[in-house]
């Protein structure tokens, strides 16, 4: 691509022409003291691990708009295939749209090949698509599942790089979560122990990261299928109010009452008829 000549003609796919318009608008807005709206990121702590019977994925449920919690119970664990699920961090819309597109592609591929989809296929589709968009699609994903070749977990970054690992965490709470996983992970863990470990990792993110909160969702994928455990744990339940903040009528005593009538004089009347034909 010769960057010195004019930009290439738009061909199918994402058009970046609006980026020029947006920059111009933003510059105009800033001079008047306004700010262009930012894409909403999910904040987020997501984590996953491979255990003896399959994989366990976990995520928190808070979606933030800068410093405001936009959604207290959003679902960050997305369906890709009956045996493959994906946790999404980064820009909420990008993660959602990418996983939906990937789910469709996997279904079509599965129908064409006559075989259940493989996690490695999901990983490759994701990598190639995200690389093509050069990081403009801000989706950080942990894809995991159980297929004919075994249990696998891949973490994919927005620019299109991916790693296959036995466990990993992503999102703003990744630091808190990975420390829990690094401490207690063992290969071939029992399912219940694995679930508790992932829940603890997400909890560390919920308690220790401002961008993550509310409750822990888990997704367990084994030979028997996938189970989505919504609200597996709520480490930070809202506290019970100890008093009432509403005052009943009559709390303030009325000492006296005075009614004054005001007479109003009609000065001018103007009638306009409506044409109802």
């Amino acid at each position: 691509m010769d960057v010195a000549t004019s930009p290439p003609a738009p061909q199918g796919g994402f058009s970046f022409l609006n980026c020029l318009r947006n920059t111009a608008l933003e510059q105009g807005l800033v001079s008047q003291g306004f700010q262009a709206p930012k894409a909403r990121k999910t904040g987020t702590t997501i984590a996953g691990l491979v255990c003896a019977d399959g994989v366990v994925l976990g995520a928190d449920t808070r979606a933030t708009d800068d410093m405001v919690v936009a959604e207290k119970n959003c679902l960050k664990i997305h369906y890709l295939a009956p045996n493959i699920y994906c946790c999404g961090a980064g820009v909420a819309a990008d993660a959602e749209a990418t996983t939906q597109l990937l789910s469709s592609k996997l279904e079509l591929h599965s129908l064409a090949t006559g075989r259940p989809p493989r996690v490695v296929t999901a990983n490759r589709f994701l990598r190639q698509m995200l690389f093509r968009y050069q990081g403009h699609i801000g989706a950080s994903l942990i894809v995991a599942g159980l297929d004919s070749t075994g249990a696998h977990l891949y973490s994919v970054h927005p620019h299109g790089s991916s790693s296959r690992l036995p466990y990993n965490s992503m999102g703003s709470g990744a630091g808190a979560a990975i420390s829990v996983l690094e401490d207690r992970f063992k290969p071939k863990m029992e399912l219940l122990e694995a679930q508790e470990l992932v829940a603890d990792a997400i909890q560390a993110g919920i308690l220790g990261d401002l961008g993550s909160g509310s409750s822990v969702d888990l997704c367990v994928i084994t030979q028997d299928g996938a189970r989505l455990l919504r609200g597996y744990r709520t480490p930070a339940a809202p506290g019970k109010r100890l008093g009432r903040y509403r005052y009943r009528a009559g709390t303030t005593a009325v000492l006296s009452e005075k009614v004054e009538l005001r007479s109003l004089e009609v000065l001018e009347e103007h009638v306009q008829s409506m044409d109802v034909e």
């Binding site: 904040g43 690389f131 790693s163 690992l165 630091g175 220790g208």
Partner: protein
């Protein structure tokens, strides 16, 4: 999120940081790398294998932007497989290196990854090619990545032509261990691949198996 507590590698691009190295010997090549992948200050993968197979007896070592490097390796792997079917023969290492160099040069402005190509073929035996910036150069040994700057002196002093397989493996391990201890972007474990006529043998060296020097 401004000032988020966790190491905010979430926004930064994922790079392999890296120390990579490849050495020719009579009969094949030894390729080695560290295993650290960083995004800003955070390490996102501490056991990443940067030695990617391009074909049965040809490997490439990845450095620079993780996404770019993986994408190039995937593309070349694909092209080599087709090429090998067309020729009905295992591909030459030069062919693999030329493919890598072609992509690296054409998209020089857009990509920021360096792949070192090494392998064995029946025509010229063990070969190491550097493709930095889109050039193509065969070298008796090559080092690359951010950690390589710390070991130029060591490799220049320690390299002897005509080393045997075990000597090459030790040379590579020593050099990478030294770089890992000095470069913040390199670390983890050492991956080694030995490629000969018989095929490719992969090894991992962890913890105490990594060579130690005076201060460890």
């Amino acid at each position: 999120m401004a000032g988020c507590g966790a190491p905010c590698g979430a926004g930064a691009e994922v790079r392999t940081g890296t120390t990579i190295m490849a050495v020719e010997f009579a009969g094949g090549v030894v390729v080695g790398s560290d295993s650290r992948v960083s995004a800003g200050e955070a390490v996102v993968n501490r056991v990443f294998d940067k030695l990617a197979p391009l074909h049965k007896r040809i490997y490439c070592a990845l450095s620079g932007s993780a996404a770019d490097a993986q994408a190039i390796a995937d593309m070349v792997h694909y092209h080599l497989e087709l090429h090998s079917m067309d020729m009905d023969d295992p591909p030459l290492v030069l062919a693999a290196a030329t493919l890598v160099r072609g992509i690296s040069y054409k998209y020089k402005e857009e990509l920021s990854a360096h792949l070192m190509v090494a392998g064995w073929d029946h025509r010229k035996g063990g070969q190491v090619y550097g493709t930095l910036g889109g050039m193509l150069t065969r070298q008796p040994f090559a080092i690359g990545g951010s950690g390589s700057t710390y070991i130029y002196g060591y490799v220049d002093a320690a390299y002897k032509p005509g080393m045997k397989l075990e000597e090459c493996q030790q040379f590579t391990k020593n050099a990478i261990a030294l770089a890992m201890s000095r470069d913040g972007s390199s670390g983890g474990v050492i991956y080694l691949v030995t490629i000969t006529k018989a095929g490719a043998e992969e090894q991992v060296f962890l913890g105490d198996d990594i060579p130690k020097f005076y201060d460890e």
